[in-house]
Amino acid sequence: MSDKGKSSSGRGGIVNSDDQNGGVVGSKAPPPPQPQQAEPGPPPTKDPNGGGSGGGGGSGGGGAPKPAAPQGRKPPELPQVERSNWLIHMHYVRGEFDACMRLIKEQLVDSGNLCEYALYVQGLILRQRGRIQESMDAFQQCALLNPSSVNNLKQVARSLFLLGRHRAAAGVFQDAAKQAPDDWEIAHNLGVCCMHMRDFAQAKDHLRRAAGLRPHESTLVQLGKIHIIENDLQHALEVFRRAVELAPENPDLLSTLGLLYMQCNQYQKAFEHLGNALTYDPEHTKAILAAGSIMQAHGDYDVALTKYRVAAGNAPESAAVWNNVGMAFFGKRKFVAAITCLKRAAYLSPFEWKVQYNLGLVHLYTEQYASAFHFLTAAIQLRPKMPALYMLLGVALSNLDDAENCRLAYDEALKVEKETGSRSLDPLVALNYAVYLYNSGDASASGRMLGEFERRLQERHGNAAAAAAEAPDAVETGKRLAALLNVGESLLWRTEAPAAAAAAAAAGPADSAAPAVHRAPAGRDQPKRFAGAGGADELRDIQRAPLPPTEPPSHPKPDPTRRPINPQPDF
């Protein structure tokens, strides 16, 4: 400070004389009035350079200075290199990129490409316009001009990242981290780079460090993503819970958390968070889909459909939306509408096996077995290792009188179950097989299969009461078949009297075979949102909420606030 005080006071006189000359020499200056030459009011006590750059200001408007000043005269004062940095910044933040680029060009010409801030903003704008390579060149120039700036390094690294060169980006970030070890942004970005390089352990380390330095929801979102990729739902839940605490009004985070709860079978909590997400953004498609699927699972089809209308308006090209809308109509027994919606979903996403599965299911219901066969075959082509698909195919084939292929389909279902090693075997596969075997006259095999059904049912539901509560249609069908086969002794329903009369039951199993396979595939679009969702989850989802076909079909709860959704009659 003392040095500065001395030098500036020593120069005071020179500057003033310089100022006077400058006024003459600065020929490019706009003509007077020059305000600084007005009589000073109160004499400045400490302002040795009061009129300091008078001449400088004069040439300020004149563009690049010419050093070739007249010999022996004082040269024109140089305009500041950074004179319009603030205006560049203003144009940039207001999104006036064209004006900004013009100004940057002028300033760069003026300063011989040495104005760091102008280059920096140029890089930012080029990046926004998608010219990543050029933007990186600009940032590299910045880094050359000012190698000590961490910001420049960060931007270079970010450009590399955007160009997909994650390893190079991570390297530059590491260099930057040496200069600024406590910068959460660097730690965060390093984590994201590592994630893209599939180095999840390192990525988690970096992201946790970033979250420790400055908790920011974007860091937690990335960390959660890694946990989801690694199929570590508990940790993912924890991370997203923290993120929601940080940003309680972010509908994206809330709906992601809701979906995670769904995957963990905590539907109450899931619905809570999804509801919150919809409070903050009633048009959030992801949250609508997830919340709607929970409603569907509870048979609340009208409310779900009301919500889906918003989603369908916002994302009319989403196969998931149309799939769920279709299944909601299916739940309301409006099969034509269901088929229309599902076909639209299939058109939008022809390789989505779930849509094909649902189409097959609906066609089984409308007794269009030939069509059902086609959709199920398509689904099997897309997803070969699904026992439920082969079982449905078996049902379709048994109705098409294709005995040989039908048996093959059921055998394949059992084989696939063995191959995939499912933890919980589907009782319905066994039941439908038993029904088929009985209908084809193989009573002993049917009895064996019925025993298998029995075993699986017990395994899944524990006791007879729970099974009867959760899958009443399957149990009912099982009972009737047992009565027909006269193999009641060892079975669950032993104590109950064989109610079904033989005459009525003779045709019974065949009819009930199709209803027995019926479950609500609602909400099956959720698992596919997560990369880590395994086959077991999907299986669970399909079997989650078997819809009792005994429920009175066409009497949805009257809801005076809703208008009728679908005037089309069932057929």
Binding site: I14, G57, L78, N566
Partner: protein
Amino acid sequence: MSEVNQAGSADAPTTGDGAEVSGEASQQQPQQQSSDKWLVALKDPTPGLNTLSQCMVLTDVTGDGENRLVVADLGDTRTNMRLRVYKGTALAMENTIIDLPVGVAAFYLDTNTPRSPAVAVASGPSVFIYKNMRPYFRFTLPPLDLHPLEEEIWAAAREGRASAVQVRGIIEDLRNQGASITGRSQRLLALHPDQLQEFVEAYKTAPLRRLSVVTALDTLKKSHSEEDAISCLVMGTEACQVQVLDPQAFTVLAKMQLPSPPVFLCSSGLFDVDYRIVAACRDGVIYQLRRGAKEATQGIRLRASAVGMIRVDKHIVVATMDRQLSGYSTKGKELWRAALPAGVTALAPLSLPSKGFNAALVAMDNNTVCVYKDKLEVDRLVTEDVVTGIRFGRYGREEATLVTVGRSGGLAIYILKRSAKFVDGAGGVGGPPAKQFSRLPLPKKTRLFVDQTLRERDCAVSMHRQFLHDLYRLRLMTAENYVQALETKATPISASKEDPVKLACTVQGVGPVFRLTVGLQNASLTTAIAGLGISFAYDGLLYRLEKVYIPVPYLVPGLTYNFSTIVECLTDKGIADAIKVYILKRDNDSPLVTGVVNMPVSESFVV
């Protein structure tokens, strides 16, 4: 002022009525309609102003009780920069400014009567102060510390001890070490080596100074809080400093350091008692400086850069690039956040002391100016142009006036109707989205669909059998054709391992003369093929070929070779036939590849 009032009253009936009609409609569609609370006093598209909110101020420059609009026009940012004063609807005065104006502020610097405020215009490294719109004083920021080495090398150059090249070398080293160097040295580095000598000669005798640039300007009351009490100027500089300037002696009273150059400043309190200066900086952080502080380090980190920062009541309201408007308490806690429909271009406070109403005016690039009371939009004014500069306050004798400058340079003045009331929640938030009540677009069930469904129900089994039957036949046919193709070498790429040749034929022309081009490519990666020939099989009654056999030279891997022959159609019956192209290999009895070219019908006969 009379002009404004006249203009206002002349316009009032028409715009008022029009707006009222649209106001009815706005009940259903609040998004589209402009508010009816404003009277248009002036709409002038011609002034060609290029300015920002911080370069506009409404103040009584002459002390006659009528507020004028003082605008610093940025011109084209190099020339034509002027300070303009509007009175009523007309331009009253104009002064040239010599460097880019950064901000304009009105403040009282003395206690003389009649009370008239001075106008400060920050520009480049200086602040120009006008009294009664006459130049009064110029304050230039004190120069910054020089690097001793830089000072020394220029001194050496002055005394002839160092050559231009040496000067440049030293300065380049300095810069690479990250030292801050003067503008002169920066320019020296940008020069071509030929110009070095000349430049050093010209400048070596001039004193070396490192000047900063003012980046933001604000005022702060000195010791009394009355409306017309003496105020200090608060300046932000490119060197990341905030300086408070004494209005009477023009000395720097306080100097504070920030981590980044300030963009917006908001001061409150009294300098002599206690004060706070809130600075939004270029690094996207809002710092707070208190009395006695030397520097600020911790601040509110914004999600995106600030586009505007103002003080409303006790809160700081910040508009950011990511289309958000946020309110922060003085302690730095985010109180609320509102999503905006478009990008923000300007932000200004709206204050109605008579009604005790304070809000934020947000100009956006969808041609609207909205009034936000906290997170609620309470009014929306649709403008003809994107508004880039906005000020609300007393103009002329009218208390509540809104002045806007558009992107294309137009000036507009609106007067708030005295009957206007801003009601919370008028923006129509809440309730389920409208889409919930629209119908799902489902097609009607058609007769055809029903018929087909019924038919399938009746004869699903036979349909399925027929389908399987046809499927087997299709598979059989496919297999047969495949075998046949293999046998006749009719695949487009030869199956043989030694001579992988790819064949592609094209026919050009409309007839009766065609050109048949045979393209051959050696599909092998390494080995060349030699000893091939092209032969054709065709109906001699229909076609005549110019060349019946084409010898093929050595085929280099990867390249495509084209061989062509003229085909003349001999018939005038309008029929066409296929020509077979054989690729033959010497000493081989079957062709390597066979291509079948279906010739087009010769058009001259058809016509």
